[in-house]
Amino acid sequence: MHLQPTRYSGKSLPFWLLGLLGLLGLALIIAGALLSQRVFYNPPPVPEMSPGTTRLEPPRVLQDFAALDHRGRTFTLAQLRDHWTFMFFGYTHCPDICPTTLSTLNAVARKIAALPNTPPTPQYVFVSIDPERDTPELLAKFVPYFNPDFIGVTGTPAAIDALAKQLSVLYLKVESERPDGYLMDHSAALLLIDPQGRLHALMSPPFDTNLMAQDFQKLSHYYEAIQ
């Protein structure tokens, strides 16, 4: 009688082992793929902002609102989509900080346009927190004076309030002795809204127009890289 390997055990082991090896191999491939993505895929680094700029992570999604631009056309969330928007809240009966900020924005607009590797052209929007006095007609004489491309926005007090609240913009009427001479206290920050209509960053005074243009370039490039 000679020894013979049992066909049964010889056959059953490779099957069992093959199946296991196959599964193990598959698992290894998947793990490897996942790992290599972790190890070899470099997400673009989060851009470093200047001290005046704060990035919101994640950006804040905004609800629709119904305002008017200085030409009397409807201005809603749709007008904030497909391009970046610099937004400032102020009023035309403001002698100092509002015209100063509009001049600042005009300088930012020029600097962004002059940057190498030009980022997409943003729009610039001045929202009145004094809709009682700031009609579209009055904004039309005020806002484009600083730059013909700038957009003035006003609307019903409720519409302005709805927009301001979502952007954490505060404002307050300060009565004066002069009739119709009241002043407004208001948030001084500039808001940056991304092409999805989300609040993406805040810029606080004192404004440095060179740094603002650079921050915008970095943010817009980063935004495109992670899409």
Partner: protein, 163 residues
């Protein structure tokens, strides 16, 4: 400042014209300008440097201009992200020192222009000194140069606006 204070001040001025004249001369105003703003603006601002080389503090207690209904001293302040303007009753120029009126800070608020102003125009502003004298200032209307807003840029915008 109410009417009574003004009247009381006017009376007190009479007695101190000589002192006042000396004091007013002690203030040296330089680089006075008014921002070129949309001609329809209800309000505007004037900026300048005021130096006091004398040995006594000098307080400016009133401001006026024949080209505006009212001129007030204000200070823009940004606290916790909120911008506000604080009317100032007086502006003290310290002895041997100076105060700067500049965008986003101290400024003269020009209210209700009697005629629209354009770049190159001149605005007469009167500073009333506490002791009674007045100092007449000539401020030129010009574009805000605080961030390299070139005059050319601005004139282009002006032309655009007229279309």
């Amino acid at each position: 400042m109410n009417r009574h204070t003004r009247f009381a001040l006017a009376l007190s001025l009479l007695g101190s014209i000589w002192t006042a004249a000396v004091q007013a001369q002690d203030l040296k105003v330089s680089d006075a300008w008014v921002r070129e703003a949309p001609p329809t603006s209800a309000v505007n601002a004037a900026y300048m440097q005021i130096a006091n080389p004398g040995a006594k503090d000098i307080a400016i207690t009133g401001t006026s201009s024949p080209q505006f209904e009212t001129v007030e001293i204000h200070r823009t302040e940004i606290v916790d992200g909120m911008a506000r303007m604080l009317p100032q009753e007086r502006l003290v120029v310290p002895a041997g020192g100076s105060v700067t009126l500049a965008p986003n800070g101290l400024h003269l608020m020009l209210i209700q222009a009697k005629q629209p102003l354009h770049a190159g125009d001149h605005v007469e502003i009167n500073l009333e000194i506490e002791a009674g004298a007045a100092l007449k200032i000539d401020a030129e209307v010009r574009p805000d140069m605080s961030d390299g807003i070139e005059g050319m840029d601005h004139s282009q915008h002006m032309q655009h606006m007229q279309h």
